[in-house]
């Protein structure tokens, strides 16, 4: 599904160039449930932003279903992301002034989908996530777990092929975290490719593959046992 070749990301600072991703070579296949782990500052979220096509400032090659993302203009990348990618955030990022139903509808509102069709899709999603009773509530009226549920519903309503989740349970009680992870597992089993960033080994256990990052380098990948930390450093 995705191939990254020698992908690098750096920022300029008064102290010089600061690297957050170094020569990342990675292949993500359809249907995988990948967990990205590593200490703070390792480049996990940066990698996720690159995959989400929110970041434009990288160098290297990025292939998405055999389309050369690195040759695309910003607008094309936006269209690609809109069609194929959904995002779940640690702090939910629901819009306070919108109801549950309106929050879920938000990604659809940016696509050329007729209103009646959107209504149907939102109703299906509410039903699927068992939130029909809460559709007119505002985020502040929901628990953290419920808010994240809305966040996930919003991320998957347009049936993305790739679901990216940045610390999706970071703000949740462990019982709620478990529910969310079960939900991810279910989505994955239904065919959605998932990439999650987490510090939690328990959450990582739901995935089929774990990638470790450190100082911007990929230092281990369970799908590629050949990749040794020492070799990676040498790269």
């Amino acid at each position: 599904m995705i191939q990254l070749k020698n992908l690098e990301r750096s920022y300029k600072s008064p102290a010089g160039q600061f690297w957050v991703l170094r020569r990342v070579n990675l292949e993500i296949r359809e249907g995988e449930f990948i967990t990205i782990m590593g200490p703070s500052g390792a480049g996990k979220s940066s990698l996720l932003n690159v995959l989400a096509l929110l970041d434009d400032g990288w160098q290297g090659e990025f292939w998405f279903r055999e389309q050369a993302v690195h040759e695309m203009k910003r607008k094309q990348r936006g269209e690609l992301a809109k069609k194929n990618i959904g995002m779940v955030f640690q702090s939910y990022h629901l819009l306070d002034d919108l109801t549950v139903r309106e929050n879920i509808d938000l990604p659809l509102s940016y696509k050329d989908i007729p209103h009646s069709q959107r209504q149907g899709m939102v109703a299906d999603t509410l039903d699927r996530f068992q939130m029909v009773a809460k559709k007119d509530l505002f985020p502040s009226q929901l628990s953290g777990g419920q808010q994240q549920l809305v966040g996930i519903a919003r991320a998957v309503i347009h049936k993305p092929a790739l679901l990216l989740a940045d610390e999706p349970t970071g703000n949740l009680h462990s019982s709620h975290a478990k529910e969310i992870m079960e939900l991810f597992r279910g989505l994955n089993q239904q065919g959605t490719t998932i990439v999650q960033v987490t510090h939690s080994d328990a959450n990582a256990a739901y995935g089929s593959r774990t990638i470790q990052l450190r100082d911007g380098w990929v230092v281990s990948d369970t799908a590629n046992p050949e990749l040794q930390p020492q070799e990676a450093v040498k790269q």
């Binding site: 979220s45 932003n49 989400a52 929110l54 970041d55 607008k75 936006g78 992301a81 809109k82 995002m87 955030f89 702090s91 990022h93 629901l94 819009l95 306070d96 002034d97 938000l106 990604p107 940016y110 696509k111 919003r154």
Partner: protein, 834 residues
């Protein structure tokens, strides 16, 4: 007290800490307060300030305090008075300690007798012998005019200099006293100087000198009004006895007047005049603030402008309130700490209000500086000849301080109360989070902006109406083309011309002026176009009955080719021609209004009428032509044209002046100087009150309209600018508060255009709400302007649509920059922000 000082100290520190915020807030307030102080300074000078005389509150004006410099020959009047009637009122009343009389002349030629050419024409006041004693004034030098100077006509050629004139022309030198100055060529001896600060009893006029009333024939030459019962020319001011009120004085003077009509004064009047004045009533009003013609012209415009600048100040307050609201979010943590360590909420409220009051006072101080410039601008717009007592006094100071403090409370209260709502625990825990949550809503700020848009709409709509009205007034059809005419008013009587001599002079002037470069054709008349004089008579038309008022018509005496030169079309018959001389049958041209009123359904040409006056009753006048209705004098600009007849100048027994009308081939202002020099060449001693283009005269007559339109447009522009800044500020703040939301939206697929649309839609929604509130408010309020509007209704849809479009455009501009900024938000950065 200690608490207050501490609050002030802390407030000063807070303001110093945020110089950008303080500068913007103070400047915004300065604009609003400065505008208010400027207008109020003029209101104070023109309407409120007392004359610098002894116990001004005891003065009362007899007659019309706004009719200054008027003269009327005909039926006696009760707004200005004849000298014989003044004597009756002065000597027979029981309510005044003294009543003085005065009259102004604006065209006195001054010659200092040192071989210099006559000085500029100055304004002098002819005053009764008791003028200075009634006002309770002491001389700055020498002595003032007294009873002994105002005895027999032309017996005492003395003058008192105005202080400002003494300063300007003689550098306060006392040696001028005792010396002679020639006024209109006649020597007057300087006997003293009026006190400093006293510019005369007429507010808004530069009175350079004072002469006794008895010297009137040398000031207004060729006329003798002292014993004329039919010439009304004096304004009266009385000093009330300590126990008397203006109401009592009015009652007493009217009794005195009726007795005078029945006595020797009345006996000197014709029976018609005696009958006509039986029912007239003399008004007496408080006179401490003196007389003023400007006051009647500008009273309502100034009060309207006070309302407009009040709205501008409110708009400025909204901007500062929004700045404070935005700042209040940042200060949540500080307030929470204060509350957490035991401050009660009222104490914190006091602290916040002290800060805003201090900001208001700083704005007031800066506004006062702006007002110095603003007052100069206002006076420039009101007219360069105008002098008003505009030095700031306790009233202006009190006004500015009160407005500043009230402003401080007005813009400070809402933010202070909002700040007070802070929840201590969450704010202490996470001040930034609290900031963002509150910032994303900012409901108060948005409500205020909607209100601001409504107020701006009101101010702009009023300005739009006044500008459109002025445009219609100036560009209306006057009945002739105005743009190639020069008008010159001449006073041959003052130069000693007899009536027959004046007729001859008129012809000589025409002969001379015809060859003037740039002048195509020339005519003459008695009143002419916008020359400042007007006359009318009751006429007798066979078959038409009614009271003299019902039979009144305006009149003018015109020379040959007058209608062709001026451009008033002759619709039937002919105009006045050279053949209409003294010996031929008396003829007249009448206007359409006269035909409609007196000869409805008839062809008037060939009909006769007479003037209802003893001297004219045996002189029938034959109508030889009908002219188109034309607007020819000040009062006619806004009114329908009245019935008017034009007699042949050479056929009337008593022409009173000559007005020259010269049609130019090019731009008329270019020919003014040559016309003036040709008139001077004809007779160097002929007094010439003015030579001006007709357009400039029309603009002078519409001065109050022009001033109101200019000023309301200026303040409308200011209101628009402040609203634009306010909307920009609120949208910028809202966008900053919505960074996370925009980031989320973009992460979920929103395009830049979606984000821009989101922000712009919100800005336009605020404007739309403001318009919904503002339109009915504006339609209701602008009814007050009804009497100022010409040719359009106070609900003029074109003005309203223009203002709505303008506000919409400005809102789009104000919203565009924050919208563009929002569209440039990097979603990655925005999401990390959390």
């Amino acid at each position: 007290m200690t608490g207050l000082l501490q609050d002030i100290r802390y407030a000063l520190r807070q303001l110093r800490k945020s110089p950008g915020f303080t500068a913007v807030a103070v400047l915004t307030l300065a604009l609003g307060i400065g505008a208010n102080t400027s207008i109020f300074t003029v209101v104070n000078g023109l309407l409120l300030k007392m004359l610098p005389v002894k116990e001004p509150q005891r003065l009362a004006v007899v007659g019309d305090p706004t009719r200054v410099g008027g003269r009327s020959n005909g039926t006696p009047r009760a707004d200005i008075f004849s000298y014989p009637l003044y004597k009756e009122l002065r000597d027979q009343n029981s309510v005044f300690d003294g009543v003085c009389a005065a009259a102004t002349d604006h065209h006195i030629e001054v010659d200092f007798g040192q071989g210099q050419l006559p000085d500029e024409k100055i304004t002098g006041r002819m005053v009764s012998g008791n003028y200075f004693s009634v006002l309770g004034l002491q001389p700055a030098a020498g002595r003032l005019i007294s009873h002994t100077d105002d005895t027999a006509e032309e017996a005492n050629p003395v003058l008192v200099l105005g202080y400002e004139y003494w300063l300007r022309k003689f550098s306060l030198s006392p040696s001028i006293i005792g010396k002679d100055i020639r006024l209109n060529g006649f020597p007057f001896t300087v006997i003293g100087v009026a006190p400093a600060g006293f510019d005369g009893d007429v507010v808004g006029e530069r009175t350079a000198l004072f002469v006794p009333l008895s010297m009137q024939p040398e000031i207004v030459r060729g006329r003798h009004w002292r014993n004329a019962v039919n010439t009304s020319w004096l304004s009266l001011i009385g000093r009330l006895k300590p126990s008397a009120t203006p109401g009592q004085a009015e009652a007493n003077l009217n009794v005195v007047f009726q007795q005078a009509v029945r006595g020797s004064y009345g006996a000197a009047l014709s029976s018609d005049d005696r009958k006509a004045i039986q029912d007239i009533h003399i008004n007496v009003s408080p006179g401490g603030s003196g007389l003023s013609e400007l006051r009647s012209d500008y009273r309502i415009p100034l009060l309207l402008l006070m309302g407009i600048v009040g709205l501008v100040l409110l708009i400025a307050c909204v901007n500062v309130a929004n700045l404070l609201l935005a700042r209040a979010r940042v200060r949540n943590k500080e307030i929470a700490i204060r509350l957490a360590i035991g401050a009660n909420r009222n104490r914190v409220l006091q602290q916040l209000l002290t800060e805003s009051a201090l900001l208001g006072l700083l704005g007031g101080m800066a506004g006062s500086v702006l007002a110095i410039w603003g007052v100069r601008l206002l006076v420039g717009i009101l007219g360069s000849d105008t002098i008003l007592p505009l030095s700031p006094d306790w009233r202006v100071l009190a006004f500015t301080v009160t407005v500043s403090l009230l402003t401080g409370i007005a813009f400070g209260l809402v933010p202070a109360l909002q700040t007070m709502k802070v929840r201590v625990s969450p704010a202490l825990k996470d001040a930034n989070r609290a900031t963002r949550e509150a910032g994303s809503k900012f409901a108060w700020g948005k409500s205020l902006i909607a209100g601001q848009v409504a107020l701006s709409l009101l101010v702009l709509f009023a300005a739009g109406l006044l500008v459109r009205s002025l445009q219609k007034l100036i560009t209306q059809d006057f009945g002739y083309t105005r743009d190639h005419l020069i008008i010159a008013r001449l006073d041959p009587t003052a130069a000693g011309y007899s009536r027959e001599g004046m007729k001859l002079l008129a012809q000589q002037l025409i002969n001379r002026l015809v060859g003037t470069p740039g002048v195509r054709t020339v005519a003459y008349s008695a009143n002419g176009l916008f020359a400042g004089t007007e006359s009318g008579e009751a006429i007798i038309v066979p078959g038409f009955t009614g009271t003299p008022q019902d039979r009144a018509a305006m009149e003018d005496y015109v020379g040959p080719d007058y209608f062709e030169v001026v451009g008033i079309p002759i619709l039937a018959g002919r105009g006045i021609e050279a053949q209409d001389a003294g010996t031929s049958a008396r003829v007249a041209v009448v206007n359409e209004a006269m035909v409609k009123y007196f000869f409805a359904g008839q062809d008037p040409v060939g009909h006769q009428f007479r003037i209802d006056d003893q001297d004219w009753l045996d002189k029938p006048i034959t109508i030889v032509g009908v002219s188109r209705d034309a607007k020819v004098y000040e009062g006619s600009i806004r009114e329908a044209v009245k019935p008017r007849y034009y007699l042949a100048f050479q056929q009337v027994p008593e022409p009173f002046q000559i007005v020259i009308e010269a049609q130019t081939s090019g731009e008329p202002s270019g020919a003014v100087a040559s016309v003036l020099s040709q008139i001077r060449a004809t007779d160097p001693h002929l007094p010439i009150p003015f030579v001006k283009t007709l357009d400039s005269l029309v603009f002078e007559r519409a001065g109050d309209q022009i001033a109101l339109a200019k000023l309301s447009s200026f303040f409308g522009g200011l209101a628009l600018l402040l609203t634009c800044i306010g909307l920009y500020g609120v949208m910028s703040y809202t966008v900053a508060g919505r960074t996370r939301e925009v980031g989320v939206r973009m992460a979920l697929g929103a395009r830049r255009s979606d984000v821009m649309e989101l922000v712009l839609r919100e800005a336009m929604l605020l404007v739309a709400i403001g318009l919904v509130i503002g339109i009915p408010l504006a339609l209701a309020s602008t009814r007050l302007l009804h009497s100022f509007l010409f040719g359009l209704k106070s609900s003029d849809p074109l003005s309203l649509i223009a203002v709505i479009l303008l506000l919409g455009l400005v809102a789009a501009i104000a919203g565009f920059i924050p919208a563009r900024r929002a569209a440039r938000i990097d979603p990655m950065v925005a999401l990390r922000y959390e």
